[in-house]
C-alpha cells in the first residue's frame, strides 16, 4: 500500500498515526510546502513571546518520521492531482503515485483587496512559522503595528508582539472582539482586558485606503504603522482538490470516514468540511482537536479498517494575556448566565440537552460540559441545577458516575 499525504500539520501527523495503528509496512510519503519539521501552528505567537522555542514547538519528536518510516518531502508545493492516474504532480514537475491520498493542506489567510495595499512594504499574515519569523524581523521596540482583524489570530498576534513594539492597534469590522466565538458580555470582558494591557482597539471600522506607512479608516481617522498584519480571516486551501473535480463547498466535503467524493482521496483538517453534530450539518471546524480526529480517522480508513468520526463540534480553548476562554457547541436555546469575580459563564440548553457554553476564567472541569454536549446527556437524568453552578460528576446519577469512573463505561 502506497500512501501520499499533502500537508505536515496536525491532520497529517494524525493520519500517519492512524495508518501505522493498522498498517505497519505501507509506504508513506509526506509532502509539505513548508520547510520545517512538523510544528504546532498555534505556538507561533508563544515563540514570539519567548514562551517556547524551536525545539519545544515541535508537535512530535525529531524521530517521529523515522519511527513511523515516513519519507518526507519538504518545501515542495503540490500543484496537480490526477485521480485517474492516481498521481500527484509537484511544482518541480516531479510526480508521486498513490494508492491512497490525503489532502491536509489546512487554510490560507484571506487578504482583502484594500486599495493601496500593494504599496505597503511591511505587510504580513500570521499563519505559519515563516510568517512569524518575518514579522519578528520587521519589528522593533519603536514600531507601531496595525492588526486588521480582532479574531483568534489577530488577538494572539497582538499578545505575541505587544511587549516588543511601541504600540499595537487592532481594528475589526465587527462590534466586538472574537465575534465568532464570544457573546457581547464576554467579548467586552476580553476587550477591556486587552486594552488594559496597552492594546489600542477600534471596533466597527475598517481600512478605506492604505498608504506605505499609514491607513485611512472608515471613521476617517488615520493610523500610522510600521507593519501591517492581515488577520481578517482564513480560507480553506482546497484549490488542488477542486481542480481534481472533488465535490467541495467552502471546504472539501468529506463523509464520516473522511473520504472525499473521489475514491481513495481523503481530506482532513481545516480544509475539510465534515459533519458538525451540534449544527447537524457539514461545516468547517478549523480547530486542532477536530483536525487530529479527522486525520486519525482518515488514516485508519486509508489503511483499510473502518472508522467513523461523527462527533466533531466547534470548540475553542484560548489563553489570551492571562485570560482563559473556553467555548464549545452552538449558542441556541435557553441560557443560564452567571458572572462573579471568578469569571463569566453562559450555558445554552435545548430539548433537555446542553447545546453550548462560553466560559471566561471560571473554566474548571469544562470538559464535563463538553462531554454532556457530545453525548447528548439528558439534563433530566442529572442534577442540572447543581451542574449549572459548577460542572461536576456528582450531578450524575450514582450508578452512572460510578461506572464511568471505574471505566466500565465511557462517556
Amino acid at each position: 500500500m502506497n500512501y501520499v499525504i499533502i500537508g505536515n500539520s496536525t491532520a497529517a501527523i494524525a493520519a500517519i498515526e492512524g495508518i501505522r495503528s493498522i498498517d505497519k509496512q505501507g509506504r508513506i510519503t509526506l509532502i509539505s510546502i513548508e520547510n520545517h519539521h512538523t510544528y504546532s501552528r498555534p505556538l507561533i505567537s508563544y515563540l514570539l513571546q519567548g514562551k517556547t522555542d524551536f525545539d519545544k514547538m515541535k508537535y512530535r519528536p525529531d524521530s517521529f518520521y523515522e519511527d513511523n518510516s515516513v519519507t518526507v518531502v519538504l518545501g515542495k508545493k503540490a500543484v496537480k492531482v490526477i485521480p485517474d492516474m492516481k498521481a500527484v504532480i509537484l511544482e518541480d514537475s516531479s510526480s508521486y503515485e498513490y494508492d491512497r491520498l490525503l489532502i491536509a493542506t489546512g487554510s490560507l489567510p484571506f487578504v482583502p483587496d484594500i486599495s493601496g495595499l500593494d504599496k505597503v512594504k511591511s505587510m504580513h499574515t500570521f499563519m505559519t512559522l515563516d510568517d512569524a519569523l518575518e514579522l519578528e524581523k520587521s519589528i522593533n521596540d519603536k514600531s507601531n503595528v496595525l492588526v486588521l482583524g480582532a479574531g483568534l489570530i489577530g488577538l494572539k498576534c497582538c499578545e505575541a508582539i505587544k511587549d516588543k513594539v511601541a504600540s499595537v492597534t487592532v481594528i475589526d469590522l465587527a462590534k466586538q472582539v472574537l465575534p465568532s466565538i464570544l457573546d457581547k458580555t464576554s467579548s467586552d470582558i476580553v476587550a477591556q482586558h486587552i486594552e488594559k494591557q496597552g492594546v489600542k482597539l477600534k471596533l466597527s471600522c475598517s481600512i478605506k485606503q492604505v498608504y506605505e506607512n499609514s491607513a485611512l479608516l472608515t471613521d476617517d481617522s488615520v493610523v500610522r504603522f510600521d507593519a501591517l498584519v492581515m488577520a481578517v480571516g482564513v480560507r480553506p486551501n482546497i484549490s488542488l482538490l477542486r481542480a481534481a473535480g472533488v465535490d467541495t463547498n467552502r471546504g472539501v466535503l468529506i463523509n464520516q470516514c473522511c473520504a472525499t467524493s473521489i475514491e481513495d482521496i481523503y481530506c482532513a483538517g481545516d480544509c475539510a468540511e465534515g459533519y458538525d453534530m451540534t449544527a447537524d450539518c457539514k461545516k468547517i471546524l478549523a480547530l486542532l482537536p477536530n483536525a487530529y480526529m479527522q486525520g486519525f480517522c482518515a488514516g485508519v480508513n486509508m489503511a483499510g479498517e473502518e472508522k467513523i468520526y461523527l462527533s466533531g463540534m466547534p470548540m475553542n480553548a484560548l489563553s489570551l494575556m492571562g485570560l482563559h476562554i473556553l467555548t464549545a457547541g452552538i449558542y441556541e436555546g435557553e441560557e443560564y448566565v452567571f458572572q462573579d469575580k471568578k469569571g463569566y459563564k453562559r450555558l445554552f440548553y435545548k430539548d433537555d440537552m446542553l447545546k453550548g457554553f462560553i466560559l471566561v476564567d471560571d473554566i474548571e472541569c469544562a470538559g464535563i460540559y463538553t462531554a454532556m454536549i457530545r453525548n447528548k446527556t439528558l439534563l433530566s437524568s442529572m442534577d442540572f441545577d447543581l451542574i449549572k453552578k459548577k460542572p461536576a460528576l456528582c450531578a450524575l446519577a450514582q450508578e452512572r458516575r460510578t461506572s464511568l469512573l471505574n471505566r466500565k463505561e465511557t462517556w
Binding site: 496536525t10 494524525a14 504546532s40 498555534p42 505556538l43 508563544y46 514562551k51 517556547t52 519545544k56 514547538m57 515541535k58 508537535y59 512530535r60 486542532l288 482537536p289 487530529y292 480526529m293 486519525f296 470548540m315 475553542n316 480553548a317 484560548l318 489563553s319 482563559h324 473556553l326 464549545a328 473554566i363 474548571e364 472541569c365 469544562a366 470538559g367 464535563i368 463538553t370 462531554a371 442534577d383 447543581l386 460542572p391 461536576a392 460528576l393 456528582c394 450531578a395 450514582q398 460510578t402 464511568l404 469512573l405 471505574n406 471505566r407 465511557t410 462517556w411
Partner: protein, 147 residues
C-alpha cells in the same frame, strides 16, 4: 503492584469521608519537597486530583488514564502523551492553552498557577513508591486496581 501495567485509581464513594487528606498528600508527594510543612504551608496547594462534594456524598476524581485519551489527541503541543499506560504531561512543553481542560470528560486535567496543567500521573517518578492518595486515605476509599 507494578504501576505501569494497566492501572487505575478506583474511588469507592461509599467509604469516602470527604476529609481531603488525599488532596494534601497528593500535593505533597508531587511537590518534590521532603517536609510536608515546607511543601504546603501558606501555599495554594496544587494537588493532581480534585474532590467533589454534594451533601453527604464525596469522592476524589483523578485521571482515568484512558486507553484512547481524548486529551492526548487534542493537545496542541504534544505535551500530553501515554508513557507505560500512564497519561503523562511534559511540563516544559505545555503552554497552558487548556484544550485538555476543555475536552477531559472527567475534569481530571486541571488549570494551575504556573501555567502548565496538573494531572495525576500515578505518582510515577516522584518520591513515593505507590500513589500517595491511596496510602493517604484513612478509610481505604481510594485503591490502585488492575484494569
Amino acid at each position: 503492584m507494578q504501576v505501569n501495567d494497566m492501572k487505575m485509581i478506583k474511588v469507592n464513594e461509599k467509604w469516602c469521608l470527604g476529609c481531603h487528606l488525599c488532596e494534601y498528600y497528593c500535593a505533597f508527594a508531587n511537590s518534590g519537597v521532603e517536609d510536608m510543612v515546607k511543601a504546603l504551608k501558606d501555599m495554594m496547594i496544587q494537588p493532581k486530583l480534585r474532590i467533589e462534594q454534594k451533601d453527604k456524598i464525596s469522592f476524589a476524581v483523578s485521571c482515568r488514564h484512558c486507553e484512547d485519551p481524548i486529551c492526548v489527541k487534542s493537545c496542541i503541543t504534544g505535551a500530553l502523551s501515554i508513557i507505560d499506560n500512564v497519561v503523562s504531561i511534559d511540563k516544559k512543553r505545555c503552554i497552558g492553552c487548556y484544550t485538555c481542560v476543555l475536552v477531559c470528560p472527567y475534569g481530571a486535567v486541571m488549570p494551575s498557577q504556573e501555567g502548565a496543567v496538573r494531572k495525576c500521573e500515578l505518582c510515577v517518578g516522584n518520591s513515593v513508591s505507590s500513589p500517595a492518595c491511596v496510602s493517604a486515605c484513612p478509610n481505604k476509599a481510594i485503591e490502585l486496581v488492575e484494569v
